[in-house]
Each structure stands twice: as structure tokens, then as C-alpha cells.
């Protein structure tokens, strides 16, 4: 099993969610995060003084999937989250050792 973490632009969340649902993904966890990469921050104005906002708001989507779905899911996220402009985000894939569904006690692929 793999965990896919995708950092995307906030306004792209609906597009990504819809695309993943269509592909049969039944669940995901979403969180508000802030960060920066090559995009860096931007400057804002408050009471006549400029200041730099280092961290930009992003959305982090996490899903755990079966190993053979990884390539498909990555391409779905890449297609649906892409704007072509700097700051579109990144996708991280890592291995997951164990999954347990709390309600039933099912484990691993059955629990995804």
C-alpha cells in the first residue's frame, strides 16, 4: 500500500476531488497547510507598510491506495491540479505498513 500526499493550490481542491471520485477513490483526508517552494511568498500591505507573507496557503490531500493504483492516481492528480503556473504543488508517495479500519477491525487492503 502507498500513501499519496499531494500539495495543491486551494482552488483546485474540487477539481482534484471530483477526478479522484470518478476514478473510484472512496476516501481522502484534506488539510489546510501553508508553505512555500520555488514560488516563494508574496508581499501584502497593512496600514501603509509592506510586508512579506512567506507562507502561502495550500491544500494537502492524503490518500492511501493499493500499490498498483499509484501511477493512475498520480496522473489523475497531476492532470486535475495543473494550471501550468508556478506553485501548482507536489506529489509525494511513500509506503504504508499497515492500515486498520477502526469501526470493524479490518486490516490492510480491505480497510482502505
Amino acid at each position: 500500500m502507498k500513501r499519496v500526499e499531494a500539495i495543491i493550490k486551494p482552488f483546485k481542491l474540487e477539481d482534484v476531488k471530483d477526478a479522484l471520485s470518478e476514478a473510484g477513490i472512496t476516501g481522502m483526508t484534506v488539510s489546510d497547510v501553508k508553505g512555500y517552494g520555488r514560488q516563494q511568498g508574496h508581499s501584502e500591505l497593512y496600514r501603509g507598510a509592506e510586508y512579506v507573507v512567506d507562507f502561502l496557503p495550500k491544500i494537502k490531500i492524503e490518500l492511501v491506495i493499493a500499490d498498483d493504483e499509484v501511477d493512475n492516481i498520480i496522473s489523475i492528480i497531476t492532470d486535475s491540479a495543473k494550471t501550468g503556473k508556478i506553485g501548482d504543488g507536489k506529489i509525494f508517495v511513500s509506503s504504508v505498513e499497515k492500515v486498520v479500519r477502526i469501526r470493524t477491525g479490518e486490516e490492510d487492503e480491505e480497510a482502505i
Partner: protein, 395 residues
Amino acid sequence: MELGSISYIIDTLFAIFAMVLIIFMVPGFAMLEAGLVRTKNVTAVLTINTLIYCVASMAFLLVGYSIAFGDFGSDSMSKWAAFLFQMAFVGKVVNIMSGGVSERAKVIPLTIFTVVMAAIIYPLIVNVSWGSNFLEGTFLELSMYDLAGSTVIHSTGGWALLAAILVIGARHGRYTKDGAIRVIPASNIPLVTLGALILWIGWFGFNGGSVGSIASKENADAVALTILNTNTAGLSGAIIVSIIMYLKYKKLDLTMILNGALGGLVAITAGPDLYDIHTPILIGAIGGALVVFAVSFFDRLRIDDPVGALSVHLVNGIWGTLAVGIFASNGDSITLLGQIKGIFVVGIFAFVSSYIVLFIINKIIPLRASHDEEVQGLDVEECGLEAYPEFKRAF
């Protein structure tokens, strides 16, 4: 019923209505300040605002009113209503002052200063301007016209704030070691807006009530004109700041626009009953413009005022009092020189006496929170109650 008692009743009702509007400015200040500070200091700001209203009004009841006016008395309305109306103003003076030292001043010493301010310093200023006038006949006698207190209330609060900021210093991290200004943005713009607009509404009682009587055709006209002109100055203050901010930065900074409205309202407060209906447009516009420039001016001097109270109340209190001399001078009872003298006499007394009292209090109970308390936030350290304690929304 005889005519005399009807006007007595109407004026009593009017004074109480005005008082309610002025007291409504307490939550106005509270919300404005709660929105402009960081979330870790919100409870402390609200605690100060609540305590200030209570102790200032109590001190004025027990001591201050007698110093200002001699004793409880009024022929034209219930003397209790006359007292309540005057009492409503007291909290405003210290409200102006407390906001500018928020996020680093401790509640208890600030409350102690409030007692001295409301019991002695402010009543002495009222005494020589609106009250029994112990300076009468001396060379210091004031001939200033200040209907609702551009100088007596707003500048007085502003001078006390300036003294307090000089005693207490800037917030930690506000100015970096290499001299740069670090912006600390507001935490809740909706609250700032709510507070500023409540203050605006409260101002109608503040200025309208200061006419003193509504129970005749002439007085009713004077009250209505006063309220009309008050509103106009607020409108033009907000509009001019919007224009300046947009031309200068291509952005509409709402906190500045609201401060501009309040600046216009302070500026009109000295003489809203004296002008025709168009002069307040100019007075409010100049007031708003002064706010924009004063905010960055004080910042350059490293005078840290999180809510802009100096720019709104001190600068425009002075401007409003001057404006009466410029636009409503009648060469007889109102002169530009008389207005300037009032600004100086009240200003010097308010600043020096506040500074001395704050200096002494600071020696006994430090006004400033410790570095750790300030970093942690005053909510936890002083109040034991965070304004926003939940990790996220609870279900």
C-alpha cells in the same frame, strides 16, 4: 402640564438617550481593538475594556464629577441624567488610551492609571473647559470652543496614550534591530469593522447630546445639524482615505479606511454645531488624510500604536480644535488664538500629569508584561482565558 416641565422631561430623556449611545461605544472600542490585535491577546484587551468602563465610571461617580462641576446639579433636566451623560464620556478618554498600548501593557497597572485619570486628571480638564472653571480670571483661562471634546476628550486620551507608549515601549518584534518596521497584521477584520461602525453610531450621541438640549425648535435644529455634520465628516474621512490609499498603493486597506472615518469624526467633534452643512466635508477629509500620514509618521518614530489611536484621536483632536478657529472664528468668543491656547494648556497638562502618574505606577507595578508573558500572549498569562482556545471547530 406646564411647558417648563415638558422641556425638563424631554431634555432628560434626550440626555439619557445620548448617554446610551455613548456607552454603546464601549463595545465599539472593545471590538475594534479585539480585531486589531493578535488572537493571543484578545481576552486581555476585552478585559481591559470592560474594567476601564467600570472603574472609570465609578471613580467619576465618587470623586471626578465633583472636581469637574462642583456638585450634582442641573435646572434644565434631571440632575441624575446630567451626571449620567457626563459619566458616559469618562470611559472614552481611557478607552482611547488603552488601545494603543495593547499587546504589552498589563491589566492591573493600566486599571490603576484609569482610576487616577477618571478621578482627577480628566475632571480637572473638564473643570477648566466645561465645568466650574477654577482658572477663571487667571492668564490661563481658556476661551476654547470644544462642543463635544476634540481636545477635552480625544486629545486628552491621545496625550495620555503618548505618555504611556513612551513609558512602556513598542511591542516585542515590532521594530527589528537593523531598524526595519515589522508589520503585525490584524487578526479579525470583521470585528474591526463592527467596532468602528459602532463607534460611528455612538458618535451621534457623543456630539448630538453635547448640544445639551433638544426641547425647543431652535435646539432641535441645532441637534439635528450637529448629527448631520458629524456623519458628514465621517463619510468624507473614509472616502478620502480610500482615495489616498488607492492612489498611493493601488490597495484599499480597510483598517485605514475605518481609521479615516474615525479621524473625520474626531475632527468634527469640536464644533459640529457651528458649521454649515458643507464645511464638515473639508474638515473630515483633512482629518482622514492626516490619519494616513500620521500612522507612518509615528511608525518612523518607533512609536508603536497597534490601533492607530494617536493618529485618530490625538492628531485629529488637535486638528478639530484648530478647525473651529479657522472655519467658525467669530472674532469675539471664538478665535484661532483661543483655540490654540486651549490645545496647548490642555495638552501640556494632560501629557505631563499622565506621564508622571504612569511613571510612578510603573515603578511600583511594572506596566509592561515580561518578555515571556508577551511572547506567550497576555490572554494566558494575565486572564487564564484564551479567546480562541479550540484546536479547530468542535463538532
